[in-house]
Symmetry: C2
Subunit: 509 residues, 2 copies
């Protein structure tokens, strides 16, 4: 049975699409609390969770949560009809996968469609990701998953072949895209980079770029920027590229899982939907990174190359050192500042080396540099200042201030420094602890929050020398980050007392 | 920072504890949407998810969801203070378990406490259950889990030793408790059974008993009933016994998982909290049941016996045939009817045999029957009518009508029969399909809904003979159940055409 309501939007974002009707209306329509219902408004049909309340709504009116209203294009006063949704078939398919089955192309299409339409919720989505983690998916399933993610969203198309680089993540301070995009664009290749905001890290490429310019564009605006400058560094979230991927990632982030098949599908689905046909993939490898050994890195690289071939994307992988942060700065504003410094010729060598190496791979892929000479060509573009000029063009095209100077970027003014407790050598820099500190300090929501490392692995330090500094915009957040320091050690110096027993004591902060 | 609000209860049940404040109040308190906040009212502190809305609430007022209000004892006008909740440690522990770690007693206590207090939500809880499924838990961890579940709830204590029976489930039509409780109570043993409502099956013992009497009692009411009659068949949900278990089961039911360690802990925690010291456990075994082979059944039985020993509960296990339903009826009213018929001497032999066998094991355990003679003694109690008289006493003590006759029980009047398409023998009866049909027909919410089997495995049927009948209270639900029949086959007759290709066609319905 279908019944019709007048919609009223609730100004509340929840994590599920939800609607509220009165208990009398529900009874008349034979609906119950927690039923999944199909809402039809104009031509859109969307699934939501039904709640009952007589205080929040009145007979004949349906209260619609904000995100549902945006997704379905519903505004106050619209007439929507409501009917019980049929039981989604995906639950059966996910259960089958959990028991070890292999899913077909049609199965995968059904699951992703149900996720995108909201026919199944975040819990079922998490179960799907966990089944991937523990049961695994073969190459066919991973391809089907990727295609299903692409097919349930929009696609960008560019006039000339688009290049891109992507990192599998896990290493803080990895602001290399802010150097690579202008280097590659300077060489004449098209590199309209769409990237994500941070999910579990202190900043994502989009968060960092947002310090310098706008990053939210429609597809036609993005094409126009790319047409003008050959480059762009934008947030992909507005473009509806593989939207199912965002929903899966959101479910995964609750317990921090990132199963290999989902990682492959997520990355390549976003690239395929964004019109990328040539990709250099950065696989940071080392203790504390997502991939710890060279063997795993090579095996993962081969899966990416193979999946790329199935999808028509040429993939080249660069295995890079991921055992500690790239450069010194962690956090949106601190990283934007360091990237600009590097573009003007004054950057840390780890950042410059990595950016130039990856740029070189792309230039070789695009035929702009002869095989084996990409590094040199890229280095020359950076050194000559052409990359910096290109970055200013891109910032301008994205509505930012192209005259910005690194020293003018605002960073947090609540600070706490960590000093070396003894003389010695830094034997270890812990990505995980630095990430946690950066998040605790308020990044990425507080743009000026983060961490600056003054020493890195192998450096010699003297007692009382400043080893790192935490930046925060709010004192409460600074305290949260200092509390992480109390519990865990971001840097270890050879010979340093790590703890005394029974009293637990790390560095003297 | 802590800020104080006047509470206003929203008459809406959601699946999470939720509060809503205005955006201005949130800004002043440095709180954001989706923050987990600690609410303090009187002496209770409870964690909830924070939402922002300016339409649903006003400055200075906090809107509190119904289940949060009940859990925390908050009523309209109460003053509550709100502060950001610290990050729950359980997420780290669950992640560690997901990676294969062994958890300590303290870890397990932290996780269960965070679940019960709402410091972590259903998604983290599901991840915990899935980690148990794929990583497993050893005997120590399972014991710690069980004790943590008991310790976070209330406990019942009886004056004399309490006996109980429990089935691990998975077989529809298993109404044996309605026979066993009166048989055992007749013999003079105390058997105050607390049971659950159906989660994924067409009816639970509490749903079935509710057709005949009330099942919701406080601890003192339940003790009074047991004191009068030696027996009781009540719903455990009101007694706050191992409440964390209910929350875990609710999360598991979304994707239908039931990992072994959690099943062990769930069952024995509920029994331990209910004051049971002697338990007979029914392990239905056979194709389509939770346990498919005798080997698995024996191994599971040994884990139950061992865990019982650690907890001070004497456990005896009965492996029973679980390859098809017990008796003929599936669904609350249909099963209550069949149980009453069996008590008056007119029941199907599978139901009587199983009930008498399990009762016999309990009587032997309690010394009421000599070893090896329990079956005979139980059978005599049933045959003599003493069990039926005892059941009438229990129904009366639970506020039901003890003069009820089986034929007076109301069952659904929307019906659909399935007829044999050919002559032959029934070679297979599918538990899973029958369960799905019963649920689709409206059980357990619609008490009169369900399925009656007219033939079972091995029976000879003639073409056009009635094989089963679906009962529903509402025509839409009958259609839902018929749709299950269109897709899947609850019974298979040797020689029957299963499908034609390309047209898919099962039984002729």
């Amino acid at each position: 049975m279908k019944i019709r309501f007048k919609a009223k939007v609730i100004d509340l974002f929840s994590r599920e699409r939800a609607v509220v009707v009165s208990s009398k209306d529900a009874e008349n329509a034979d609906l119950r609390s927690f039923d999944r219902v199909k809402l039809t408004a104009d031509e859109t049909t969307i699934t939501a969770m039904l709640y009952l309340s007589d205080k929040l709504t009145q007979d004949g009116t349906i209260r619609v949560s904000q995100e549902l209203a945006s997704d379905a294009g519903i505004t106050d006063g619209d007439i929507v009809s409501v009917a019980l949704a049929p039981r989604p078939q995906s639950v059966t398919l996910i259960k089958r996968k959990m028991k070890g089955a292999t899913l077909s192309k049609a199965d995968m299409g059904t699951i992703i469609q149900d996720i995108v339409l909201g026919n199944i919720g975040p819990m079922e989505t998490l179960a799907f990701a966990m089944a991937q983690k523990y049961v695994g998916m073969n190459d066919d399933e991973t391809e089907f998953l990727t295609r299903a993610l692409v097919d349930t969203g929009d696609r960008l198309e560019f006039d000339s072949p688009a290049y891109d680089k992507h990192s599998i993540g896990g290493v803080p301070g990895n602001k290399v895209s802010l150097l690579i995009v202008p280097i590659v664009a300077s060489a004449g290749l098209l590199i309209p980079k769409t990237s994500s905001r941070a999910i579990t890290s202190p900043t994502g490429t989009a968060d960092t770029m947002e310090v310098l310019a706008q990053v939210e564009f429609t597809a036609s605006e993005l094409k126009e920027i790319a047409r003008k400058t050959n480059g762009a560094i934008a947030w992909g979230g507005m473009l509806n590229l593989a939207p199912g991927d965002d929903m899966i990632i959101r479910a995964e982030s609750v317990v921090g899982i990132d199963p290999e098949s989902q990682m492959l599908a997520s990355i390549l689905a976003k690239k395929m939907a964004a019109g990328v046909r040539n990709l250099v993939l950065d696989i940071p490898t080392g203790k504390g990174a997502k991939v710890e050994t060279m063997e795993e890195a090579v095996s993962l690289a081969n899966r990416f190359i193979d999946l790329g071939r199935r999808l028509g994307i040429q993939v080249r992988c660069g295995v890079t050192y991921g055992g500690q942060p790239i450069g010194h700065a962690i956090g949106p504003a601190l990283e934007a500042k360091e990237a600009l410094e590097a573009l003007t010729g004054d950057g840390p060598s780890s950042l410059i080396e990595k950016s130039v190496s990856i740029s070189g791979l792309i230039l070789e892929m695009g035929g702009t540099a002869p095989a084996g000479r990409g590094y040199e060509v890229a280095r020359e573009i950076l050194k000559s200042g052409r990359a910096f000029d290109k970055m200013k063009e891109i910032i301008e095209a994205q509505g930012g201030d192209s005259r910005v100077k690194p020293e003018e970027i605002t960073v947090g003014d609540h600070r706490h420094a960590l000093y070396a407790p003894v003389d010695g050598y830094v034997t270890s820099v812990e990505n995980r602890v630095l990430t946690e500190m950066g998040r605790a300090a308020g990044a990425p929501r507080d743009k000026g929050a983060g961490v600056v490392l003054h020493v890195k692995r192998g450096h010699k330090v003297r007692k009382d020398q400043k080893m790192l500094e935490i930046y925060a915009e709010r004192s409460v957040k600074l305290q949260d980050a200092v509390n992480v320091l109390r519990r865990e050690s971001p840097l270890i110096i050879e010979g340093m007392l790590l703890r005394t027993v029974p009293e637990t004591m790390f560095l003297n902060v």
